[in-house]
């Protein structure tokens, strides 16, 4: 029956030499980056297709990062839009501040120009979101059960209220005239990073611990997994990428308002993750694509969109509770399910 050694998806059966391992880590970038640069040149700027592609990219980052918490770890966060807002406002504030400084002094700070500023701002936005993730995660993840859901939901609200009350962030009207630094290259570069991090995480011993927590928290704890620490770490990683997604979102839309980051946004991401399958990265990617492109194709249908999402969510839970792909990836679909 088992001539192939039993191994888990993505984990190499035998150790590989260090040089090959290093090459393997760099390979996705060696292939991906040139491809993205070419794609960036090919797709005409300002086109409708491009805008949809941007939205799809941001949605993929959001869905895959949320999957780390909701899918891998089995916790339930429904405040992803909150972290996205932190990253979006953080990054946009920094690029705007830099631009006004450059205008006032006639030159940029040091050697920083457009893309370098953007990268730094994006990373800082992500870091702020990660910090927010730690602040929210530490009290709520210590507890078992559904508290995380309600705390994350509440956190999203708090963030929105704070933004609406802060003049420096544009209060109700939001930030406008953000430099449009985000292009196809940057968005999909970060898609690549997010997917790779999620994939590597899933295959690492760290990821195994997360999966163990999802399967049975008490058993995981008995096996020596520090459940709270792992949950917080997963939560912080997810928040970081949500922040990155927010930064990209702000820099391609060029305006930000507190209304963009309501519950509805968080729920949309949750629907993507659940539809694709809790724990399936390729499932999340596919669901993010479909659920972003489909409403574009059915514009007149927009009124019914959220009701349909809701029905989809309910019927999915009643008939196929693990989502379309479960925790398997697309290429594993034909493989028989492992016994639980």
């Amino acid at each position: 029956m088992s001539e192939a050694p039993l191994h888990l998806a993505g984990v190499p059966a035998a150790p590989v030499p260090a040089s090959r391992a290093a090459l393997r880590s760099a390979l996705p970038f060696l292939i991906g980056v040139p491809l993205l640069l070419v794609a960036d040149l090919l797709v005409p700027a300002g086109s409708y297709t491009l805008r949809v592609l941007y939205d799809v990219g941001v949605a993929i980052i959001l869905a895959v990062s949320l999957n780390i918490v909701n899918g891998f770890t089995g916790q339930f966060s429904i405040g992803h839009a909150g972290f996205m807002a932190v990253g979006a406002y953080g990054a946009a504030y920094l690029t705007l501040a830099h631009r006004s400084w450059a205008l006032a002094h006639g030159h940029s700070i040091g050697a920083f120009e457009g893309q370098a500023v953007f990268t730094l701002a994006l990373l800082s936005g992500g870091a702020m979101a990660a910090l927010a993730g730690a602040l929210v995660g530490i009290p709520s993840l210590r507890l078992k059960g559904d508290y995380l859901a309600i705390v994350t939901l509440g956190f999203g609200e708090i963030i929105r209220v704070i933004i609406e009350q802060t003049e420096a962030l544009g209060a109700q009207t939001g930030l406008t005239d953000i430099p449009p630094y985000a292009n196809l290259f940057w968005i999909y570069f970060w898609v690549l990073v997010t997917v790779l991090v999620a994939r590597r995480l899933q295959a690492s011993s760290h990821g195994r611990a997360l999966l163990a927590i999802r399967e049975d928290e008490i058993a995981a704890e008995a096996m020596g997994v520090d459940t709270t620490a792992y949950k917080v770490r997963a939560f912080v990683i997810a928040a970081f990428f949500a922040g990155i997604a927010g930064g990209l979102f702000g820099h391609h839309l060029t305006t930000l308002g507190p209304r963009s980051f309501t519950f509805v946004k968080s729920f949309e991401v949750v629907v993507m993750v659940v539809l694709g399958g809790l724990g399936s990265i390729s499932g999340s990617i596919l669901a993010a694509m479909v659920l972003t492109v489909l409403p574009e194709a059915l514009r007149s249908f927009d009124r019914y969109r959220m009701s349909l999402y809701a029905l989809l969510l309910i019927s999915l839970m009643l008939t196929r509770p693990s989502g379309l792909f479960g925790s398997r990836e697309i290429w594993q679909l034909r493989r028989p399910r492992r016994a639980p």
Binding site: F263, Y304, M306, A310, M317
Partner: protein, 302 residues
């Protein structure tokens, strides 16, 4: 001083509403260990039922006490029915599956009610304004602060409903059964309690309270729209957690505490942050005493 007193009175009447909604959350959590996210939207449906009933009865043209009673009864009955349907269709099939699935379904039901309500042939997206059920007049005045009749009606109704609930839960056979199921469903069923029926009854009871709260909320804030339940619902849930989820006394106290603290923030001059208070309190509570004020510590069994 006058200002503080009037904020306290406003806080208490809002708190009574939160308490009423929180009771529904806490009872359902007690028997099912499920955060019924749709509860807030059940309240919204109650408010709309009240609105349509009041319009059909021409309450604003010729107000009468019996009409007020009919409006409340209609809203509570409609919500009880809705609660029953939701439990049957969405939650019962998932009773044996992991709690995460039930939670996702609850969110789905909530989204469905909210967005279904926004469809043009249901409630529509435009904001409706609730007709006055009773003439809003200052009833009494306390140290220079006038107490409005709508506030009095709100507080009295909320209080009466809570007294009735207390009687049902602690002084009837079905209440004993409810508490038994909440304590341990398996053992309760071995003792001859029809667990399914009790859970359905709990949903109906909680939803009826939400329906009453919906009408009171619509009366106090006069405007109705399909997403009106979201924020009070969330806050009421916070109130339930503050008081200790699963505890009926806790939900009442938690609601009042939350309502008063919101208006204290207004009194201190931070009215912009009013909506954030609840969640700040929640996080604080989770850090200090995760089981809430009256919650029993729960031991997890393997």
């Amino acid at each position: 001083m006058t200002e503080l007193l009037s904020d306290l009175i406003n806080g208490l009447s809002l708190g009574a509403l939160y308490a009423l909604i929180a009771l529904g959350y806490t009872m359902v959590y007690g028997v099912l260990r499920l955060i019924n996210f749709a509860h807030a939207d059940v309240m919204m449906v109650g408010a709309f039922t009240g609105y349509y009933t009041a319009r059909a009865l021409h309450v604003s043209r010729s107000p009468a006490i019996w009409k007020v009673v009919v409006v409340f009864a209609a809203a509570m009955a409609a919500c009880a029915l809705l609660g029953l349907i939701v439990e049957r269709a969405a939650y019962r099939p998932l009773r044996k599956s992991p709690r995460l699935n039930a939670l996702i379904t609850a969110i789905g039901v909530s989204l469905l009610l909210e967005n279904g309500g926004q469809l043009p042939f249901v409630f529509g997206t435009d904001i409706k304004s609730m007709p006055d059920l009773i003439a809003g007049a200052p009833l009494a005045s306390l140290a220079g602060v006038s107490i409005d009749s709508i506030q009095v009606l709100g507080f009295a109704t909320a209080f009466a409903l809570m007294v009735v609930l207390n009687l049902v839960v602690f002084h009837t056979r079905i209440g004993v059964a409810m508490r038994a199921v909440s304590h341990n469903p398996e053992v309760a069923s071995l003792m001859g309690v029809g667990v399914d029926g009790i859970i359905a009854f709990t949903f109906m009871l909680g939803s009826a309270l939400a329906g009453g709260a919906g009408v009171l909320y619509a009366m106090a804030f006069t405007s109705l729209d399909p997403v009106m339940g979201l924020l009070p619902g969330l806050k009421a849930f916070v109130a339930a957690v503050l008081g200790g989820i699963g505890s009926i006394k806790g939900a009442m106290v938690g609601g009042l505490v939350l309502g008063v603290s919101e208006y204290l923030v207004v009194f201190l001059g931070y009215s912009g942050y009013k909506d954030a208070v609840a969640f700040a309190l929640l996080i604080l509570m989770l850090l200090v005493k995760p089981t809430g004020l009256f919650g029993r510590p729960m031991t997890e069994k393997v």
